[in-house]
């Protein structure tokens, strides 16, 4: 709803979308079933979608509109989280669901899409606004953008936007090539590159924490911060996605996109305003400041790992190479850790350690800011073990979203005995209300036209630039995999990487 509407009530009304049609390529895929359609239904449930709303699903599987509606009904009722399923509302929502069968390489498909959009606009009053969502194989992104452009669908009576799922390329040259192909038909402000990590409430809360409070920002620099650790650990393996995963690996799948974006959110300069471009300019500047490793520096600053057989949650699990669909000699990294340095005045000399992996002991995503120790050990004594502990600020993304500050305190009683204690803020305790899923947030933003939480071409290219030397170096190595047992915290080389700078990984 327009902010200038005389009926607006910003204290109470949620943001609502303008009328539009959403065209989903890959409508028969897992993402559509598990995430996109439940998110759109949930937006309808909350009354955030305009009455003029429709979805056109596209895939190669032949299906009627009614078949599509039935499948989506099953998916939404199954995968809807934290919400009741309202059959009456579904019937109303499903009136706006349509389906087209076709091959994205066939020009006739785009003609059909154009005709269907015309009909939908007439019947559902979508005002000519269209959001294209590419949820297909990444290799088809360029082809679809070109098909839409050639059919004249990148422009229309209303606005036209295109959401591209990650990965944006598989390395820097392919990312550039993809950008060129899409930008031949869509202007940059029409392109929404989705990184669902940025849609997570707690990642957004990092900005609120840093820029909404006055007390932390003065400490947020090389003078007071010793180093930063970013961990995204998964306690599961590849879960039947071995064939896909062995083409990607942990560095490409997590660090190049999600975790470098999280790092940018932690380290970027405050933007002058909270406008989309101002925030993204700062993120992009930070990513461009990440030092590019020279080939001879990679071995000391990046570690690849692959899990072997081990025990997880009390049961035995197979190694990655024994997973279905995985090459028995695969050299894919299921664990990756890297040290990044940021060459700017604020962060010069402060290492940012990032690690991610499959089959680690627990599922946890967090950022640990390690502050420098007190300059003088006033309480030096054998009875003060806590004194040597530096202050830690933990920003927990999942689970138990929240913020903890670790500091030392005097133990009650005679004598000056110190003990580490924790001051905790629990996101769930303070805001018991339901948090929207990342896809709800991001879809709503795209329909409204707010690209703040989407990545821009320069950000994508900057993050590929940061990991490209590591990928090149690893491609030339013969790794002795597996090098960590499932259920452990990764290869010992990862500990050695931190030890070289006198640091140790925190155990979350």
């Amino acid at each position: 709803m327009s902010v200038n509407s005389p009926l607006q009530d910003p204290l109470r009304f949620h943001r609502k979308t303008p009328p539009c049609a959403v065209v989903i390529f890959g409508a028969n895929g897992d993402l559509t079933k598990r995430k996109l359609m439940p998110a759109l239904y949930r937006l309808a449930y909350e009354g955030r979608l305009a009455p003029g709303f429709a979805v056109i699903g596209i895939s190669r599987t032949p299906m009627s509109d009614d078949d599509f509606r039935a499948r989506m009904h099953d998916s939404v009722s199954r995968f809807l989280e934290d919400s009741p399923f309202d059959e009456d509302l579904w019937r109303s929502f499903a009136q706006g669901l349509f389906y087209l069968t076709g091959d994205v390489g066939d020009a006739a498909l785009y003609k059909k899409i154009g005709e269907s959009l015309g009909g939908v606009d007439e019947e559902h009053a979508t005002a000519g606004n269209v959001l294209f969502y590419l949820s297909t194989q990444p290799s088809q992104y360029g082809e679809i953008a070109e098909g839409l452009g050639a059919a004249g669908l990148a422009k229309g009576a209303g606005w036209r936007r295109i959401i591209v799922e990650k990965p944006f390329g598989h390395d820097l040259p392919s990312a550039r090539d993809l950008n060129t192909r899409i930008q031949a038909h869509f202007a940059e402000e029409q392109i929404y590159r989705i990184d669902h990590y940025l849609g997570k409430e707690t990642v957004q809360n990092i900005m609120a924490f840093r820029f909404g409070n006055g007390i932390f920002e003065p400490l947020w620099n090389r003078r007071y911060i010793d180093h930063v650790q970013i961990t995204a650990a998964e306690s599961i393996g590849v879960e039947g996605r071995g064939a896909y995963y062995q083409e990607a690996g942990a560095l490409r799948d997590m660090i190049q996109n999600h975790l470098l974006q999280v790092m940018a959110t932690i380290a970027m300069e405050p933007s002058a305003t909270f406008s989309s471009d101002a925030v993204r300019d700062e993120r992009a500047k930070l990513l461009r400041s990440v030092r590019i490793l020279k080939p001879e520096e990679v071995a000391d600053n990046a570690v690849a790992g692959q899990y072997g057989p081990g025990r997880v949650a009390g049961g035995a699990v197979v190694g990655f190479r024994q997973e279905p669909g995985v090459n028995p000699e695969s050299t894919t990294d299921t664990y990756a850790a890297a040290t990044f340095l940021v060459d700017n005045w604020r962060w010069a000399g402060v290492p940012f350690y990032i690690r991610t992996g499959k089959y680690l002991p627990k599922r946890v995503s967090e950022i640990a800011i390690h502050f420098k120790s007190a300059p003088l050990s006033v309480f030096r004594s054998s009875e003060t073990p806590g004194e040597s502990l530096p202050n830690l600020l933990i920003l927990r993304i999942q689970p138990e979203e929240g913020i903890s500050l670790k500091f030392v305190s005097k133990r009650p009683g005679a004598g000056m005995t110190l003990r580490p204690v924790s001051m905790d803020f629990n996101y769930g305790a303070s805001f018991g209300e339901r948090s929207p899923s990342a896809y709800e947030t991001l879809l709503l933003d795209a329909i409204i036209g707010d690209a703040t939480l989407y990545t821009r071409q320069d950000m994508v290219e900057a993050s590929w630039s940061a990991v490209q030397p590591i990928m090149d170096y690893w491609a030339a190595q013969k790794f002795s995999f597996p090098n960590y047992a499932a259920g452990t915290w990764g290869p010992t080389a990862s500990d050695a990487m931190l030890a070289r700078r006198g640091h140790v990984w925190r155990t979350p």
Partner: protein, 316 residues
């Protein structure tokens, strides 16, 4: 000179402190996950003694999840000189978590003639630096002479004008005139339908809007809705009309909104059906429970100008 039934706030605070220490020592934190003491505001609830205490406790306990607060419940009774207090806590374990979250509860029982003393007890018990919200559920307190002292305790006052014995529009207007941030749950109930109407009426300039209400007399919700639409769309004619066919439903509440000949909104169980163009749509609007309404109001601790504009229109 303290009377025999005096309550010292310091003693209550000490009791609370001891209570938390005991809770903290109960069980091994490594095994139980420990507990988290949470407080984002002070909620002071005035209720009459006759009110169903279990129902009230359940309502207030459910608020804690979204608005963890120090809760002070004052139960007012007629009759003899009475003043007593005790402390307890409300704890819950969030789904999938190991650590309990706990909020503190102080219950004060007072006879209406001790209301002035209640103010002096409650004021020091409020959590420092956090918003203080007063929930007025007692009809007794509205008639009491010491009301002004009580209201001075709160940054925000919440009433429900659709409750029997609750303050009417004139009294709520008086609270606004006295500078209090005020919320009325009768207004809060309208948020979903107002949001829907705002969307349907965007970029429109209707000539006439008719709000039909159940029964013969418009209730607070219908009157608020009319006032909101009229003040938002001053060039439109917004009128109220009784709808005898829906008289069996909640008396006085809005049931149909007609916008010229283009839009028809029917409020039905759990939602609304609306015709805007050739298609009949449905919007989900689960009936707001009291805790949902209170959650919304507790989230707003600044002056609500839209509400105030509508109220002023009614009381003018």
């Amino acid at each position: 000179m303290p009377t025999a039934t005096a309550i010292r706030p310091d003693d209550i605070l000490k009791q609370l402190s001891a209570y938390w220490t005991d809770l903290g020592h109960a069980g091994d934190p490594e095994e139980t996950g420990g507990l988290l003491r949470a407080c984002s505001k002070t909620l002071i609830c005035f209720a009459d003694e006759e009110e169903n205490s279990q129902q009230l406790s359940e309502t207030l306990a459910s608020l804690m999840r979204e608005h963890p607060c120090r809760m002070i419940v004052v139960r007012l009774q007629d009759g003899e000189d009475a003043l007593a207090a005790n402390v307890s806590s409300q704890c819950w374990m969030p789904f999938g978590h190991r650590r309990q979250i706990c909020c503190e509860l102080v219950e004060v029982t007072a006879s209406i003639n001790r209301l002035a003393d209640v103010a002096s007890i409650v004021a020091p018990l409020a959590a420092a630096d956090l918003p203080r919200v007063i929930l007025l559920r007692s009809a007794r307190i509205v008639r009491a002479g010491a009301l002004r002292k009580i209201l001075a305790l709160g940054d925000k006052i919440i009433v429900d004008s659709s409750r029997q014995g609750a303050p009417g529009f004139g009294e709520i207007g008086g609270l606004l005139d006295a500078g209090h941030t005020t919320g009325d749950l009768a207004w809060t109930r309208l948020t979903p339908i107002r949001a829907l109407l705002a969307q349907l009426l965007e970029n429109r300039n209707p000539a006439a809007i008719v709000i039909e209400y159940a029964g013969k007399e418009a209730g607070p919700e219908a009157r608020y809705l009319q006032a909101w639409l009229q003040t938002s769309l001053p060039d439109s004619q917004v009128s109220l009309r009784g709808n005898a066919t829906d008289g069996h439903r909640d008396h006085g509440k809005p049931v149909v909104v007609r916008v010229d000949k283009d839009i028809l909104v029917r409020l039905c169980e759990g939602g609304a059906e609306y015709e805007a163009g050739p298609i009949v749509h449905r919007a989900s609007m689960p009936p707001g429970t009291e805790e949902q309404l209170l959650n919304e109001e507790l989230g707003i601790v600044v002056h609500d100008r839209v509400f105030e504009r509508a109220l002023n229109h009614i009381t003018a």
